[in-house]
C-alpha cells in the first residue's frame, strides 16, 4: 500500500536524477552525491519540522518552496525566450553560473531536498524513523540505478539549462500534486477565477463598461463567460503550461551555427544538420515536461483520495427551539471526523456539521461557505475540501470565519452535548448561503 502511494514520487525522483545527470554531464559524481544527500536532509528536516510544528505550517512551508520554484521557472522561461531573440544576452553571467560546479551541486542538493520533503508529506511521520530510513535507502539505490540508465541514453541527447530547470520543477510539481495539501494547480485555478471575477467586478464598478441597453445585453453575453467556473481552470492551465511552452519555443528559436566559412556544401550541410538534430534532442525534455505538467494537472483535478463525507443525519429541535447533539450518541463527536446534520424548520433547511479540530476544540459550522454554491465539504488528509471550488481548508482553521471557510455557528458545549439554536441556524443559512447560491444559479 505504501509502495503504491509512493509511485508518483519514485517516478519523479528517478526523472529528476536522470535529468540532472544528463544536464550536468561533466559533473555526474557531484550531482549524484548532492542529490542523494539533499534527499536525506529533506527527509530528516521535514520529519523534525512535522514533529515540531504539527498542522498546516509545515505543509504551507513546503508548498511555498515548490511554488517558489515554479515562479523561478517562470523567470527562467521569460529569460530564455528573451535570450533566443537577442545576440548580446545581458545575463550571460547567469549562463556561466548555470555551467559551474557550484550550481550543479547546489541545484542537485536543493532538488533532492524538496523531493525528500514531499515524500515525507506523503508518508507522514507515523511510520517512525525506520520507514524514513528505508525511504532514504531506496532513494539512494535509485540514484545508482539512474546512473546506469543514464549511460544508455544516446550521447546526442542533451539537456539545455532552461529545460533542465523545467524538467526538475515539473517533476516536483507532479510529485507534490499527488498530495492534496501540497497541490498547486487547484489553488492556482481558484486564484485565477477569483482574480477574474474581481477584475470584471471592479471594471464594472468603475463604470468602464457602458450601461447602454444594446451594448449591455451583447457585452454581458461575453462578460458572462468570465464569471463561469471554467475560467479559473483554463486560466490556470495557461499559467501552468506557459513556462514549459516558452522554453520549448526558445529552444526551437535557437540560432543555427554560422557555416558561411565552410566551402564544401556537404560539410556545410552536415554542420547544419548536426545542429538541427541536437536542437531536436534538446526539445525532448521540454516535451516531457509538458506531459508531466499535464499529469500533475490531472492528479490535481481528479485526486486519487477518498473523502469522508457522511450522509447528513436528520435532526430536529426540542420544544425550546434548541438542537441538542449528544457528545457520544449515535456518533462520537470528538473522534476528529466530520459529522453532518440536516435541520428543517418552517419549510426551510440548513445543513451543518460538527467537528473536533486537531487542537481539541469542537466547532459547529454550516456545510457551506459564504462565497460558493453550497455543494458542501468532504474531509481528507487533515483538511476539509469545498466541493464547489476545490479549496482545501486545514482542519486547524475550521471554525474561523472568512474566505471559503465553512460559516461558523454559535453553539454551547455542555457535559451532555452540543446545543445549537435552531432559528439562528436557519437564519444564518438563509442570509448567507442561499442568497449567494441563488445569485450564482441565476447568473448561469
Amino acid at each position: 500500500m505504501v509502495a503504491i502511494k509512493l509511485i508518483p514520487h519514485i517516478l519523479s525522483w528517478v526523472g529528476i536524477v536522470l535529468i540532472l545527470l544528463r544536464g550536468f554531464p561533466e559533473r555526474k559524481r557531484v550531482v549524484a552525491v548532492a542529490v542523494g544527500a539533499g534527499f536525506a536532509l529533506g527527509v530528516a528536516g521535514t520529519f523534525f519540522l512535522f514533529r515540531s510544528f504539527p498542522g498546516d505550517f509545515s505543509f504551507s512551508l513546503i508548498r511555498d518552496v515548490v511554488g517558489g520554484s515554479f515562479l523561478l521557472l517562470w523567470g527562467i522561461a521569460v529569460a530564455s525566450i528573451y535570450r533566443s531573440t537577442v545576440r548580446n544576452f545581458p545575463l550571460s553571467w547567469g549562463e556561466r553560473f548555470f555551467a559551474s560546479i557550484f550550481f550543479a551541486g547546489v541545484g542537485a542538493f536543493m532538488s533532492g531536498m524538496i523531493a525528500g520533503a514531499i515524500s515525507v508529506c506523503r508518508l507522514g511521520t507515523s511510520g517512525g524513523m525506520l520507514m524514513l530510513l528505508i525511504l532514504v535507502l531506496v532513494a539512494c539505490v535509485l540514484v545508482f540505478e539512474s546512473l546506469a540508465i543514464e549511460r544508455l541514453l544516446p550521447p546526442s541527447f542533451t539537456v539545455s539549462n532552461s529545460a533542465l530547470m523545467a524538467g526538475v520543477v515539473a517533476l516536483l510539481l507532479f510529485s507534490s500534486s499527488s498530495i492534496l495539501r501540497l497541490d498547486l494547480f487547484s489553488p492556482l485555478s481558484m486564484k485565477v477565477m477569483k482574480f477574474t471575477h474581481d477584475f470584471v467586478h471592479q471594471f464594472f464598478e468603475s463604470m468602464l463598461i457602458p450601461d447602454h441597453l444594446f451594448i449591455h445585453i451583447h457585452l454581458w453575453r461575453y462578460i458572462g463567460l468570465l464569471f463561469g467556473k471554467e475560467v479559473g481552470f483554463w486560466g490556470g492551465l495557461i499559467i501552468w503550461f506557459a513556462p514549459a511552452i516558452l522554453i520549448a519555443l526558445a529552444i526551437s528559436f535557437e540560432r543555427l551555427p554560422s557555416v558561411a566559412h565552410i566551402r564544401q556544401g556537404a560539410q556545410r550541410r552536415t554542420v547544419v544538420a548536426t545542429a538541427i538534430r541536437a536542437r531536436r534532442f534538446r526539445l525532448v525534455v521540454p516535451g516531457i515536461t509538458i506531459l508531466v505538467l499535464a499529469g500533475a494537472g490531472y492528479q490535481s483535478r481528479f485526486p486519487a483520495v477518498e473523502y469522508w463525507d457522511p450522509k447528513p443525519i436528520v435532526i430536529s429541535a426540542g420544544p425550546s427551539g434548541e438542537i441538542v447533539i449528544p457528545l457520544k450518541g449515535e456518533v462520537d463527536l470528538k473522534d476528529g471526523k466530520l459529522h453532518k446534520y440536516l435541520f428543517s424548520q418552517g419549510g426551510k433547511e440548513a445543513r451543518f456539521f460538527v467537528l473536533m479540530t486537531p487542537t481539541g476544540q469542537l466547532t459547529v459550522d454550516l456545510d457551506a461557505c459564504a462565497i460558493c454554491k453550497p455543494d458542501g465539504y468532504g474531509q481528507t488528509e487533515g483538511t476539509v475540501l469545498c466541493y464547489y471550488c476545490k479549496t482545501l481548508i486545514p482542519l486547524e482553521t475550521v471554525g474561523k470565519p472568512g474566505g471559503c471557510n465553512p460559516v461558523p455557528i454559535h453553539f454551547t458545549e455542555k457535559k451532555d452535548g452540543v446545543y445549537i439554536d435552531g432559528l439562528t441556524l436557519i437564519n444564518t443559512w438563509s442570509t448567507t448561503v442561499q442568497t449567494t447560491a441563488r445569485v450564482k444559479e441565476g447568473s448561469k
Binding site: 556544401g265 556537404a266 550541410r269 552536415t270 544538420a273
Partner: protein, 224 residues
C-alpha cells in the same frame, strides 16, 4: 604514391553454393579511376556492391577510406554510404514525379539537410541549368544520367561508383557523360570505380581490371 582508398585481402562473396567473388586482393589509390570489365556474372557488380557498402563479404577483409566495413554496424554502414559514396546506375533510378532539382535535393535530404541553391548549382555544373524544373520523363537519357551524376556528387563523396552508367546511352551522350565525369574527377579528386562492358568507356579510366568467374584475371594501365 597516393595512399590506397580501397584495400581488399582475400575478399570473397558467396551466395549459397555459388561463389560470386573468389578471394580477391585489390588496392585502389586515392583519386584513381578504375574500370572493371568482364562478362555477365563475372562478379563486377558484386565487387562494386561490396566496396560501396551495399553488401557484406562472406570472407576476407575490406578497408575503404580507412574504415573496416566488416566491423561496421548496419547504422555505421548506412552512415558510410551516406557520407562516403556516390552511385550512378545504368537505370538512373530517378523519382519520376520529382523535378531534376528535387531529385538532387533528395540526396541532400538523406545526407543532412536539403539546400536548393546548392542543388541548382550542381545541376548547372553538369550543364542542366535550363532543365531544373523538368521531371525525368521530360529529359533525354543523357540528361537523366547527368542528373544522376549531380545527385551522386552533391554530397562530395570520396568514392564514386558507376554500374554501367552509359549502358543505355548512345555514343554522343556516352562521350558527353564520360567527359563530364572526367572533368568533375579532376576538380574534386574523388576515386571512381566504374563497371562497364564497353572497352571504349573503360579507356577513360586510369586502370582496368578484368574479372572472369569471380577471379581477377588481368589488369592493364591506360595511357593518360
Amino acid at each position: 604514391m597516393a595512399t590506397a582508398i580501397i584495400e581488399t585481402t582475400s575478399l570473397t562473396r558467396n551466395y549459397g553454393d555459388i561463389c560470386a567473388l573468389k578471394p580477391l586482393d585489390l588496392q585502389v589509390p586515392e583519386g584513381e579511376w578504375l574500370s572493371v570489365m568482364g562478362h555477365s556474372g563475372s562478379g563486377k557488380s558484386t565487387l562494386m556492391n561490396l566496396v560501396g557498402g551495399l553488401d557484406r563479404p562472406s570472407a576476407g577483409s575490406l578497408q575503404v577510406g580507412g574504415k573496416d566495413l566488416l566491423a561496421l554496424t548496419e547504422d555505421g554502414l548506412a552512415r558510410f554510404r551516406r557520407e562516403f559514396v556516390g552511385i550512378i546506375f545504368q537505370q538512373h533510378h530517378l523519382v519520376p514525379y520529382l523535378s531534376a532539382v528535387e531529385n538532387v535535393m533528395m540526396a541532400q535530404y538523406f545526407h543532412s539537410v536539403p539546400d536548393e541553391a546548392e542543388a541548382r548549382l550542381a545541376l548547372e555544373r553538369v550543364g542542366l541549368g535550363h532543365r531544373l524544373k523538368n521531371r525525368p520523363g521530360e529529359l533525354s537519357g543523357g540528361e537523366q544520367q547527368r542528373v544522376c551524376i549531380a545527385r551522386a556528387i552533391i554530397n562530395s563523396p570520396k568514392l564514386l561508383l558507376g554500374d554501367e552508367p552509359t549502358g543505355n546511352l548512345d555514343h554522343k551522350s556516352t562521350v558527353m557523360v564520360m567527359d563530364l565525369l572526367k572533368e568533375l574527377r579532376d576538380e574534386e579528386r574523388f576515386t571512381i570505380i566504374m563497371v562497364t562492358h564497353n572497352q571504349e568507356v573503360a579507356a577513360w579510366g586510369d586502370r582496368t581490371i578484368y574479372l572472369d568467374d569471380g577471379v581477377l584475371v588481368r589488369e592493364e594501365r591506360m595511357n593518360s
